[in-house]
Symmetry: C2
Amino acid sequence: MTEVAPSPPKDRLLTSGAHLMAERGFDGVSVREICADAGTSNNMVHHYFGTKQGLLDAIVDEFSTEVFAIPMRLMDKEPRSKEEFLSIIELLFETTLEAFIEHRSVMMVVVREQADPAALPQYMKHVAAFLEQAKARGYVRGEVDTDMITGFFLDRILNQVQFAPWIQRVYGTDLLSDPGYRQQWCESNLDVLLNGIAS
Amino acid sequence: MTEVAPSPPKDRLLTSGAHLMAERGFDGVSVREICADAGTSNNMVHHYFGTKQGLLDAIVDEFSTEVFAIPMRLMDKEPRSKEEFLSIIELLFETTLEAFIEHRSVMMVVVREQADPAALPQYMKHVAAFLEQAKARGYVRGEVDTDMITGFFLDRILNQVQFAPWIQRVYGTDLLSDPGYRQQWCESNLDVLLNGIAS
């Protein structure tokens, strides 16, 4: 058996910081508690991030990169057919959902502190531009307000991931750990988003 | 000039409780502070609600009634045409948005404490049944998963109202106090929800 190397103290501080701040809020947790949870000495937050605020900023930056910057690359390619356009939209929705699930603690901190992930406005602009381009090619209805669409995406995903424990308690469905339900949830949502509810 | 009678202490406690808990969380505020903010003596939370938890329950109940029970009545009437169905959906969306804006502090408490408003599952069932009925009459596409639609409604509205200060800071639009933007926002969202984005 080979030993797994422990993750570096900086990463452990990011993980512990996100976890504790998601639970108790920025003001509800001390630097000392974060260091204890991460198994580092008490001056490590100071060493890597300067202050507790610096650690929060680093957590928000991580969210920015992982959740917005990476899915954005999916839109780099210009779709050549309506089918290709639709599959990019599907992939974008699913990838964003996966990223929110994977970085759930970090997301909870961003929501709780109403932080400004730097990449979010870029992501929103990028999606709007991608949809405008698709509209010019006739893949998107002319009436669609393309600035609104990221809202539909992110609101659905954010709330489903944020309220997952509540949804499971009340409805019994488990988006976080049931891949079958996750697949069905994506399909139903994409169907409504792409085709609307009216006959 | 006639004098306006001050609101009863029970209402003032509900308002102050919602306001302070929305800002600092249930654990971040004391009964004494709530009474001071409401201008009542220190035993009034005990008198009307038993405990701080009792006050929170009353705040959540208020949200339940005002935000879910009242808009639900719109669906009591069975629509006789697709046009009538569409205008009920529009009215339901707009009424729910208005209720969330009017009760924003209470809503923030419900979200922050992940409380269970009793009327929410009823509201969700009611909307799903209303849409199933409309599907049987041919007003709703057969493929629509009607259980998902309340999610679209509430996620859009909840996040737009919850993050209104952030949205205003980043995008300059003000849903809470600009009726023109609110109207445009409703129209764009209903267009996507009813007709989808694909051409």
